[in-house]
Amino acid sequence: MCPPQSPGGHTGPPLRVGASLDQWPPPDRTIDLLRFARDHPEHSAFATLTAAQVLALALLAAVVTAAAMWNWVATLLVANAAAIIFYLVHIGYKFHVAWLSLERGVEFNPSTEAMASIPDGELPTYTILVPLFHEAEVLDRLVRGLQALDYPAGKLDIQLLLEEEDTETIAAARKLTLPSQFRCVVVPDGQPRGKPRACNYGLALSEADLLVIYDAEDRPEPDQLRKAAAAFREAPPDIACLQARLNYLNQRQNLLTRWFTQEYSTWFDLFLPGLTVSGAPVPLGGTSNHFRVSVLKELMGWDPFNVTEDCDLGIRLHARGHRTAMLHSTTWEEANSALLNWIRQRSRWAKGYIQTYLVYMRNPFATLRALGLRGFWGFQMTIGGSIACFLLNPIYWSMTALWFASHWWVISAMFPPAIFGLGLICGFIGNFVFVYLAVAGVMQRGYHDLAKYAVLTPVYWLLMSLGAYKGLLQLFTRPHYWEKTQHGLFEEA
């Protein structure tokens, strides 16, 4: 069924392991899946806060408390002024980046001719990592989707990464008859359980030139691998990662998926291309990021303790002098259509962003040196700024409601005229900018009928804030817990 065979140009052991049950290799427990965290604890989210960070936060809390005891209204005023100035800067940055994308947003988009000009024998070998955890129900569809990829089977090493303790998915996988380019890889059980750890295992087994990650429900465009291979061939060597756009199959399933689609369209079609132009680090999306394997191994893969390991890796790539670019190809995913499921997913993202921010702010000067001024600024705005917005928003919404309800004097005191003026700009211009970016995102993507739903986007922001607060709380209770997103809620997905 699966004759071991080296793909063209590949000199290592066979890439294709095959699919029959007896050919499944046992989990290799000698592979150190936590190597990155062990070798570089300063860049791992294993510890949420370092002692220095705890001290700095305690000091800040002490100063704020002392100031509040001295004059609590003035303290609130200063905090308010700082928050409003932050909002203004953040709004300006987001708009600037989106505009950069509209103005000179570029992405790798090799033509059909350019792709066809590379003979199959000269195509690089490709590892596809598909981490699976309780995904038995989507397995069949996943395999069919991956089979549709237009890439020579002999050059492919598709690893279905199964967690050792996930007997249900393993059992489902055993029932499948897989083509030769697939192999089922059982990841040895251990902690912290989650996608980055499984990917590290897959990376250790990979001997290909390029590597990409897909989630269980992903449907990449069939020519995505060829496109990425052609793009890497043209790209300068410092481009270590190509991020394909992500979007949703079930955009119009319900209001939540419409908003989610708006958000993804804005993020992947407007914001990330703008970031690549601006020279800032790119927080990678969870899937469809294509890497040069050599670079990934040099970086020791993913941090298994970071629940947004993709975001962390994007920053780390930039810090090590590599760059990420966008690939003009879409991977279709299933948008989370159930509210609670959505909040779980969002809380993990928020927790991971906070983890990443804290990791790189352990030594801000080192981060500044590594990322450069523009990169550091982009990191502050993209990672720190996004989370800060989600956490601050409910406070300001509550203050606004309270003021209209009671005209409480403290709120008036927090807004002397100059701050009030800036606050008005935030309120009236800032909110509009974000709503309008949502419109621009769906228009850029071509979902014209979704533009009208952007008007209701502020309700979606409320949900995002809920997720952010849940993530923040969980950071202190279960920092490395991986909130599993349930897939398969959309029938046609």
Binding site: G105, F108, A231, A235, V442
Partner: protein
């Protein structure tokens, strides 16, 4: 980053654009030239009252009360010019009070306009030599120079309409989202610069609708495109309506107030008449513009040249020879027809003319490109004609042409003389009334601005006393009042005495039409 084949832009291939250095040079030269003319104009007491009103509102926001109060932005004039004057008034209060900041804003706007025009010309395929010649002619156009050097809000309107038109033109060529957004933002800002910007908004909406239906034919695309285009405009205009509701208690206060009769050069004219006149005059012009754009969108861009050139002649005529229209305006005023407010037309005409000139030339020039020297001859001829048109077009009454030269001695086209107002303000500076200082009549704001009386004054735009004037602390105060006619001075004084409940004593100083009274307790 990578080879050209691999790295494809999201939109169409990048169009021709001037270099960054060239753009900066154009901006700096244009701004410096207008600043020079504007500064010179101030020394000659040449002003535009509407520009000064914007400065006055900005000063009021910052200084009329102990703290900054945006509610004092004024709710009759559109707010954007005043908002743009805020940083100047904040950073340079002395210069703002002297009316110097009008030309500063005007210079920046002029620089941006020429910067954009130069880029538009490059986009439309015109070479650098021609672009510079064209920009120089525009800069020397007396109407353009007058608007910019005096800082009149219409200059800003020219810039915004030009930006919107250029963005729309590019959108027609490549349907890039950024052009649609750019057009929308420019027009959104235009609605709070001049209220009749509603008309170009309608025209642009028609253009966008036509093209979208023609190219896509899908309702959903039209819906999304129109939402993207109209959302900023509706939002910006909506904010202004909301501000009127929250602060003035009437969502349409700005509109109702604008319908009040105001004294003008031609006598009393209501804004209603002005708007009707404006719409009547603009409709054919904008219809032609739409036609030109539609022609451009039809896939045969050279068709745009025909309508554009048709449009150019009347537009250019109004631009270069406003004197032509003066007799007609005067007749219109006498016969109580809707009055055409000629100065209001300058801005849209100028913007449309500049853009369509560039478009038409960009269309026409390539037709001759195969013939040796034909292109140069054509361009040179066009430039000479434009120059001659600017300088020597015959006009009506005593004016035989719009002469740009007075601008170089501090008298730009369209400016009024503020000598008398400044003289009254200088006298007022020395006064320290115990009661209220009332300034009645238009432009009273200029008197108080020049006098540095942002705080302790009450302004009435009309020379007649309003109904609620009785509540003021009049005893010991001063009344500075503009007399429309010396014959009515006595009657007006009686009215004010009755309304205020005081005795008015005519003081021995006055300037222009401004009379000065001291208010004393009635015997």
């Amino acid at each position: 980053m990578a080879s050209a084949e691999a790295l494809a832009p999201l939109a169409e291939p990048k169009p021709l654009a001037p270099s960054r250095l060239e753009s900066v040079v154009v901006f700096v030269l244009a701004a410096a030239f207008v600043a020079l003319v504007g500064a010179l104009a101030v020394t000659q007491n040449a002003v535009d009252w509407r520009a000064l009103a914007a400065v006055s509102h900005a000063v009021d926001v910052l200084r009329q009360e102990d703290s900054v109060n945006l509610a004092l932005i004024g709710f009759v004039e559109p707010p954007l010019p005043s908002l743009l004057q805020l940083p100047f008034a904040w950073l340079m209060p002395g210069l703002a009070s002297a009316g110097q900041t009008v030309w500063m804003l005007g210079a920046i706007v002029a620089g941006l306009t020429l910067y954009m025009l130069n880029a538009a010309c490059a986009y439309l395929g015109l070479g650098r030599a021609f672009r510079w010649a064209f920009c120089t002619l525009v800069l020397l156009n007396p109407v353009f120079l007058g608007l910019m050097a005096t800082g009149v809000p219409d200059g800003l309107y020219v810039f915004l309409l030009l930006g919107a038109g250029w963005a729309l033109l590019r959108w027609q060529h490549r349907e890039a989202l950024r052009d649609l957004i750019g057009c929308s933002l420019f027009l959104g800002l235009a609605t709070i610069t001049r209220y009749d910007a509603l008309i170009p908004v309608i025209v642009a909406t028609l253009v966008i609708t036509t093209q979208t239906l023609r190219t896509a034919g899908r309702w959903s695309k039209l819906e999304g495109t129109l939402i993207t285009f109209l959302l900023p405009i509706v939002y910006i205009a909506g904010l202004w309506v909301l501000a009127n509701l929250l602060i003035m208690g009437d969502a349409w206060y700005f509109w109702r107030a604008a319908w009040r009769a105001e004294p003008t050069l031609f006598g009393q004219v209501t804004a209603q008449q002005a708007v009707v006149g404006s719409v009547l005059a603009l409709a054919p012009l904008l219809a032609a513009t739409w036609w030109a754009f539609w022609g451009g969108a039809s896939g045969r861009p050279r068709l745009a040249a025909g309508p554009a050139l048709m449009l150019l002649s009347p537009a250019a005529a109004v631009l270069v020879a406003p004197g032509w229209f003066r007799p007609w305006l005067a007749r219109a005023a006498e016969t109580d027809l809707p009055l055409l407010p000629a100065p209001d037309l300058f801005a849209p005409l100028l913007a449309a003319t500049l853009l369509l000139s560039a478009a038409a030339l960009g269309d026409v020039v390539p037709l001759f490109s195969r013939k040796s020297y034909a292109k140069e001859v054509c361009l040179a001829g066009g430039a000479v004609l434009l120059a001659v048109g600017c300088l020597f077009t015959l006009g009506g009454e005593e004016r035989i042409y719009v002469d740009p030269r007075p601008a170089f001695v501090g008298l730009p086209f369209g400016a009024d003389n503020a000598s008398a107002t400044k003289a009254v303000a200088a006298r007022l500076q020395a006064e320290d009334p115990k009661g209220t200082l009332i300034v009645a009549g238009w432009p009273g704001y200029a008197v108080t601005l020049y006098a540095g009386r942002a705080k302790d004054k009450v302004l009435f735009p009309d020379a007649s006393p309003p109904a609620d004037v009785g509540g003021l602390h009049a005893d010991g105060g001063l009344l500075v009042r503009y007399e429309l006619s010396i014959l009515e001075a006595g009657v007006a004084r009686d009215k004010w005495e009755k309304a205020l409940g005081v005795r008015l004593t005519y003081d021995d100083w006055w300037g222009g039409g401004w009379m000065h009274y001291r208010m004393e307790e009635s015997p």
